[in-house]
């Protein structure tokens, strides 16, 4: 991820990074799960195996993003990059859903 060697990372701006990871990280995991769900034609029913596997995918990805979001240089950058990724992936998801159905 974007790290400049000039300014060392620190935990001081943890809140802005962590909140970006929590909110946009969760949005991102849903978008990814949604795209995978469309690709495998999941109906996302709690009783179905694909629905359950997608459900398990979400906390796993979310925790991973939460762990990684501190590598952003600043909180602002975390919000910007994760936000942009959200827009792109949700866009992909809605486009795919519209074409599939």
């Amino acid at each position: 991820m974007s790290v400049s060697s000039a300014k060392p990372l620190s935990s001081r701006n943890w809140f802005s990074k962590a909140s970006a990871g929590s909110v946009f990280g969760l949005g991102l995991t849903f978008a990814i799960a949604g795209i995978i769900g469309l690709l495998i034609h999941s109906d996302a029913m709690p009783m179905s195996a694909s629905g359950q596997l997608l459900m398990w995918l979400i906390p796993t990805l979310w925790i991973a993003i939460l762990g990684a979001c501190f590598m952003f240089r600043s909180g602002l950058r975390a919000w910007a990059v994760l936000g942009a990724l959200n827009i792109v992936l949700w866009g992909v998801f809605f486009t795919m859903r519209a074409t599939f159905s």
């Binding site: 949604g34 469309l38 195996a49 979310w62 762990g67 501190f70």
Partner: protein, 522 residues
């Protein structure tokens, strides 16, 4: 492995802050969770004998007919027990569940005497095993499920973050630090070594626990969002019709004996434990057979399930049937099973018990490290005494952890003399009374010099479990589970008391040396 110094420092900070926020709740979750590995044997241990006659399996249809004539509401949902145990003492039983809370678990058992007269016995099962499971699920908080579940989920997320950051900061010095258990006078070094070894070797276990706990906390909203995102596509894929060929032609239920016979032919390795009948929508009766197969992972804490047509005996759903699942269902079953330790039988249960206790100890050492390094930093600035924050945290750490141990032991001891093993409210009050008392004590006596007092009290409560059990219900050796529980409690209690004595002797010695020094002529 090299990691940049500023990144290491950042993750070290994150690790200590998430650790200190979540550590105490996780201690309770892991200590209670380790005990929950044996929820079913503990239920057998705690349950008092129920005065209900046993009924041979082949006489079950007669018994059922009499039950339905006397209590038609039982028809909606009832279970036929294949091998009655103390926990499930009658051939036929049904439950009066009050919502999802499982706080009242009133049970009704039915049997027949020698003359064929129907016997119906009501019982509130002892709540100790259930209480400890609920305590585990609520990370020790006394709030209702709706409040404590999301808190648990957040704690689990922090726990996941602690695992990532903890692993990262250990990586650079992994080879050097891992096998070095430096037992010296440097307490902080020793706690750190123990913390590293425990954390590293049980990392896979902890990853499973972190992810599955977030799932348990948030699966309902996640499914709701998933459904909103993907639900429409279900119109393209109509739900599969699972009930193959059950037309109205079969209106006579098969006897439980015939069901078991039919299952034996279809899935010879699956050992059925309970036949659960329930009326679904439209009054159609569905049968779910709970059972186990020691060679496979089980979806539930104790069982896998087969959906069976109660009229033909044909298996209609193998989604949760051990060894007959589709690969996708087998994968999700493994996720659950890795949390519940419901694979590989009793040895895995004991392994999980030990891993759970080790996990609890990991969080305890983590908190102690936090306190210890804070103390050092404060001493470096010239402070002679701990700041208030350090004192509060040290007291909370000792008070909560030993309070949880003492409280759970006290609840076990209470089971032996409370009527019927104790209602949920009674067990809950015993636990929280002891828990809060220990926290209070930690703050009053000061844990810096009186940690051993709390250790000793927790030890006495724990060793009281076997003592009370033997005194109150002397036929210990005849009761299932009693020996394992009493033995484990004895060793744990003795260990706590010995540790307390050791710390006491050490401080005594140090005090002697100090007074000698101050008494010696200058």
């Amino acid at each position: 492995m090299k990691i940049r110094a500023d990144i290491l420092r950042m993750y070290k900070d994150i690790h200590s802050w998430v650790g200190i926020t979540a550590g105490l709740a996780l201690f309770v979750a892991f200590y209670a969770g380790a005990i929950t590995m044996f929820e079913s044997p503990l239920q057998n241990w705690a349950t008092r004998p129920v005065p209900v006659s046993s009924v041979a399996l082949e006489k079950t249809p007669e018994l059922l007919a009499k039950i339905f004539a006397a209590q038609p509401q039982a028809m909606k949902s009832y279970s036929v027990i294949v091998h009655p145990t103390p926990e499930q003492p009658a051939r036929v039983m049904w439950a009066a569940l009050s919502g999802q809370e499982r706080v009242s678990r009133h049970k009704v058992y039915a049997g027949m005497d020698a003359d064929g007269n129907l016997e119906i016995v009501h019982q509130d099962p002892p709540e100790i095993a259930n209480f400890i499971n609920v305590l585990h699920q609520r990370v020790g908080l006394p709030f209702p499920r709706a409040i404590s579940r999301p808190i648990m989920g957040i704690i689990a997320l922090l726990y996941g973050l602690a695992l990532i950051s903890g692993t990262l900061i250990l990586l650079p010095s992994l080879a050097k630090d891992l096998f070095a258990l430096r037992i010296s006078h440097n307490v902080k070094r020793l706690w750190l070594d123990v913390h590293n070894v425990l954390g590293f070797f049980s990392l896979p276990f902890h990853i499973v626990m972190a992810i599955s706990s977030v799932v348990f906390a948030f699966h309902e909203p996640i499914f709701a969002v998933e459904h909103w995102m993907l639900g429409k596509s279900s119109a393209l894929h109509p739900p599969q019709v699972r009930h193959g060929g059950t037309q109205q032609s079969h209106t006579v239920l098969l006897t439980p004996e015939a069901i078991l016979q039919s299952l034996k032919v279809q899935v010879p390795e699956f050992e059925p434990d309970t036949l659960n009948y329930a009326q679904g929508r439209g009054g159609k009766l569905a049968l779910r057979v709970a059972g186990h197969d020691p060679r496979y992972a089980l979806r539930g804490p104790d069982s896998g399930f087969a959906g069976v047509d109660p009229y033909t005996g044909k298996i209609v759903s193998t989604d949760y049937l051990p060894g007959h699942q589709t690969p996708a269902f087998a994968v999700t079953t493994w996720f659950f099973s890795l949390h519940f330790g419901s694979f590989g039988g009793t040895p895995v249960r004991w392994l999980y018990f030990i891993l759970g206790l080790a996990g609890a100890f990991l969080f305890y050492t983590g908190n102690l490290l936090w306190v210890e390094s804070r103390r050092r930093r404060e001493r470096k600035t010239g402070l002679l005494h701990d700041t208030r924050a350090t004192t509060i945290l040290a007291s909370l750490t000792i008070g909560c952890t030993l309070g949880c141990v003492a409280g759970i032991s006290a609840s076990f001891a209470a089971n032996s003399f409370l009527p019927g093993g104790g209602s949920y409210a009674a067990i809950e009050s015993v636990y929280y009374a002891v828990f809060l008392f220990m926290i209070f004590l930690a703050f009053v006596v000061g844990v810096q010099s009186h940690k051993q007092l709390l250790l000793a009290i927790a030890g006495v409560f724990t060793i009281a479990v076997p003592v009370v059990d033997i005194l109150a219900r002397p036929a210990v050796f005849l009761r299932s589970g009693a020996l394992s529980l009493d033995g484990t409690a004895f060793f744990l209690g003795a260990g706590l008391i010995l540790t307390a004595m050791k710390i006491h002797l050490r401080t005594q010695k140090r005090r002697c040396v100090q007074s000698d020094l101050s008494a010696s002529p200058r």
